[in-house]
Every structure is written in C-alpha cells, then in structure tokens.
Point group: C2
Amino acid sequence: MYMNFEDQLKDFSSQVLFNANFGKLSPFKNIIISGMGGSGIAGSIFSELYDKAPVQVVSDYELPAYADRDTLFVGISYSGNTEETVSVTREAMKRKCQIRLVTSGGELSELGPETVLVPKGFQPRAALGYLIKPFLNSFITSDPKVYERISSMMSEMETDNSMEKATADKIYGKNSIPYVLGYPPFRWVAYRWKTQFNENSKLLAFSSYFPELDHNDAIPFKHTYGKDKFSFIVFGGSTGQIEKRVRFTSEITSTEFITVEPKGETILEKMFYLIHAGDYTSYHLGKLRKIDPEDVSVITELKEKLKS
Amino acid sequence: MYMNFEDQLKDFSSQVLFNANFGKLSPFKNIIISGMGGSGIAGSIFSELYDKAPVQVVSDYELPAYADRDTLFVGISYSGNTEETVSVTREAMKRKCQIRLVTSGGELSELGPETVLVPKGFQPRAALGYLIKPFLNSFITSDPKVYERISSMMSEMETDNSMEKATADKIYGKNSIPYVLGYPPFRWVAYRWKTQFNENSKLLAFSSYFPELDHNDAIPFKHTYGKDKFSFIVFGGSTGQIEKRVRFTSEITSTEFITVEPKGETILEKMFYLIHAGDYTSYHLGKLRKIDPEDVSVITELKEKLKS
C-alpha cells in the first residue's frame, strides 16, 4: 500500500491507537535508546516523559561503556537499515543488554532480539505514532481511553488545519527561518518541529527551550542583526516561572513570538497536539514553497555515497 | 580584582591548571549535573567525555525521580545564585544524593554540601576552565603534564589569535548568522560556540552535529531559502564515517563550510583548543560589531523581573 504524504500525515490519529508494547521486561538500572533523525525523535520525546531511570538517547555510532546486563537497550530505525543504529545494536548484543527493537523491517529485524514490527509504507517522520507508542504503552500508560481521546483530537486537526496553515502563511509571508522555542516537557517536541521544517518544508530551522535559552539566546533576541529573517514560534500553555520567562523574554527583547496554543488537558494530549500542529505547519509551508514534502533525495544520495 | 573581558579570556590557559577535584566519592550508579548556560556547559562537555555511568545534565527546575542515594549530584552555578540550580540542589539534598557543588559563592555555597570554590571576578562563560576542571581531575585525568601541554597551547592562541580573527572577519563580512556543526565528542563544544556567539557577539547563532544533522538539516542545506544569511562552521579532525559525512554533505548540498582545524593530539587537547578558538572568534566578532562583549544586561533585567 502506498500513500501520498498528506494521507501519511492523516494516519497519525490512527497510529496513536497502536497497542504494541515491549512485553515482559526484566529489572533494569538504565535505558539506552539508539535512533537517528525521525526515528530517534521517538526516543528523545519519551526520554522527557520518563524519569524513573536514567535514559540516554544515542544518536551516533558509539554505545556508552556503561551499557551491560542491567541496561534496557532499545534500537529504533523505521527502515531498519540506519547504519548508526544497526552498529550500536550489534554492540548492545555483545554486551548482553536486555534488548528491544522497533522497526518496519530491514537489517535490524534480522538481528534476533525481540522486535516490535511496525507497518511499512511511511516516511519515518510520518510513522512517529508507531515508533513512540511501544514506549508509552510500556512505561507511561496503556489505557485505551487515553489514546482514543488523543486520536479524536488529532482527527479534528486532520480535517481542519487552517490554524496551522495560518502559521505557515506567516512564516512564508516574510520568507523567514523558523526558530521554535519549547519548554519542558516539550523540548523535544520543539526539536521535532525543527526537523519537520527541515524535511517537509526543506528549510533551515532551529529549536531551543526555556529556561535554558534565557541564559544565552535572550541576548541576541535584543541585539542581533538579521532578526527580521526569523520567525519565533513558542508553545503556549506554560505556567509558573516558565510562563513568566516566555512573557518577559518577549517584552525585554522586543521580539514578537508566534504562539501555538496546545489543546487538551494532560501532558500527553498537549504533546500529541503540538507534534501534529508541527506536522501540518511544516507541510503547508512546503506546499507554499511548491516543493515536494516527500523528497528526501539529499539523504538518499548521502547514504549511497557513504556505502561506497 | 576586576579584569576586563579580554584579560578574562586570557586567563583560560591558567584555569586549566586548576587542580581541584571532588575528593573521595562513595560508589554511585548515575550522575546528575544541574547547571544553566555558561555554567551548565561544563557538565554537558564532561558528559560527552565520560561514559562509565549514565550522566544527565538537568537544565531546568526539576530533579528526575530516579535521583537517590545512588546518585552523584553535582550542582554548578558560577554566581551561586542561579534559581534553577539552587532549586534542583535543594531537592537533591532532600533525596539524600551524594552531593558536590561548584561555585564562586552565593546561595549555593551556603547550602552545606561539599563545595569546590572557584575564584570570583569572571563572567561565568570566562570561567569554564575552573568549572570543568573538577570533573576532569576526578574522572578523566589529573596528570599535571597533560594540562601543562594544553595550557601552553592555549597561551599561544592568547598571544596570536589572528586565525580566529580571520574567521570572525568572514562571518562579519556578510553579516551572517553562525551555524556551528560539531561531531562527537565535540557536540557540546559546538553548542559552546553557539552560546559564545550569543553572549560575546550578541548574535543569533546555532549548533548541531554530525551524524544526526545528516538525517534532517542536510535537506535544507540544499533547498532552503536564505542560506546566504548563514556561515557554516565545521570542526576539522574527524575520521572514518564522520569525515566522509562532513565532506559529502558539503559536496551534495553545495554548501561552503568554514573549517576550524583543532591543534593537539589527544581529545582533551583538541577539545580545549576548539573551545578557546570559539572564545576568540566570538570575541573578535563582537569587537567588529563594536558592541561590549561583557554586556549581559538582558539576562540581568530578566532575572530582576523574575524575582519580583
């Protein structure tokens, strides 16, 4: 089955109903997740929701020295052929880590450890629901009602994404570079937006987060040259010191923030809402630029050259 | 003693001789480091050099739930008054973590746990040598010969930083935004460059790293609008797949990279060389812009408003 990219995006509300999990796990002292780009982001977003054990997301070729029998290792690669992830997973097998894999096939699915198989036919970045759900079901909640509510909220956006289109219009209107400012626990959601602008809109884009950015970025927000070349996007819904930081940073530096208000009550609802809002904003921005959101020929060409 | 900012920069070659360490430590299962901005970066850079236990750098208000008696907790705040770090340290005390602090004074120095006191009178970002040395001495190497070699290499740059001036000239020549591309174990050194451009040059600046950036950024490197508004800075000295990735990414996307070649043989030598090169490049860029590199009034104003 081959879907066009818009249909792939629309599939997300179904993906959050995916009920796979990692099965029975032996006790572990730490979690290491190996994954790159659109696959690794599932691990990064999970790492911000879970803090009962240390979680390290490895996004290069090396498995940390501490990885051993007490480590739960999860290798994620949608294609199953990401060279970094395959290499780190092989090393985790040698070190006798407790291993789980998440993939749609490829080399990873042939390595042997227990594997959550996800459907083929998607761009990795349009399969985030499948890639993240095993983590959420295993460690956060597997209550189907929770995900039904999220799914129906996401369906609404899939039917009417005029707000996301409006944000895309603003960015495109001044041919600007998006700079997305998150806050915990949505730092990696901000990074997801960045990568979606990179891939779906073929634009340079950046992300950072409060409160860290107030210790460095806030200075150029006031004094830099070239500020008019950027669109600053912040996530609404913060409270306490973070809410103040967002407001004061905008005021003191005279910087206009485009605020994306998450819907939903719980962290999971807001998280999926914000993720999907980034999907549609970057998708519309790509359409405005008249480029093919699906084209990742640069990455394909790179992979080919690296093999040779 | 008050030093002007250039003298503060020049002090770095002396700071790497700072011989403090964390003293005798009980066994621990994981390390949590709390620190923001120019202080937190010491923990982040260390986290990339050490992998015998999980290291998490906390750059917000919350201590992870897993922190307990088996956790070595290090709180770093140059001023000692960073609200995030003070708050997380208090929580670490309640949780009975094994605690070490690194500070020049302030509230942190009055909390009670064992503290490495570093000299006052610097901008936090110009005290990185003091802030990082306790980690290196305790966990990497305390061999004075290693640091004497590094110190003398850094002294040379403090006497002649014409290469760094030349890089600053290139960036300034087209009024561009620096985008610094690192690779492991210099991902956080790239982030350090970003924050130094932010603070010393008062410019927006960004960082990412190979191989992760090949999974998203590489696409806009080819297709984005506004690419001429950026200067792409990469660190030389990579090998194997990373070296290929740097070269192929530049070729395939027709992107000109400004390469900063590290001097030195060991990782520590290259690391300090690259860090200091970023100090001087950002400093010269600030001078070209005729701004005061020391001025952090935006951050001060923010802190004042947050207290009220």
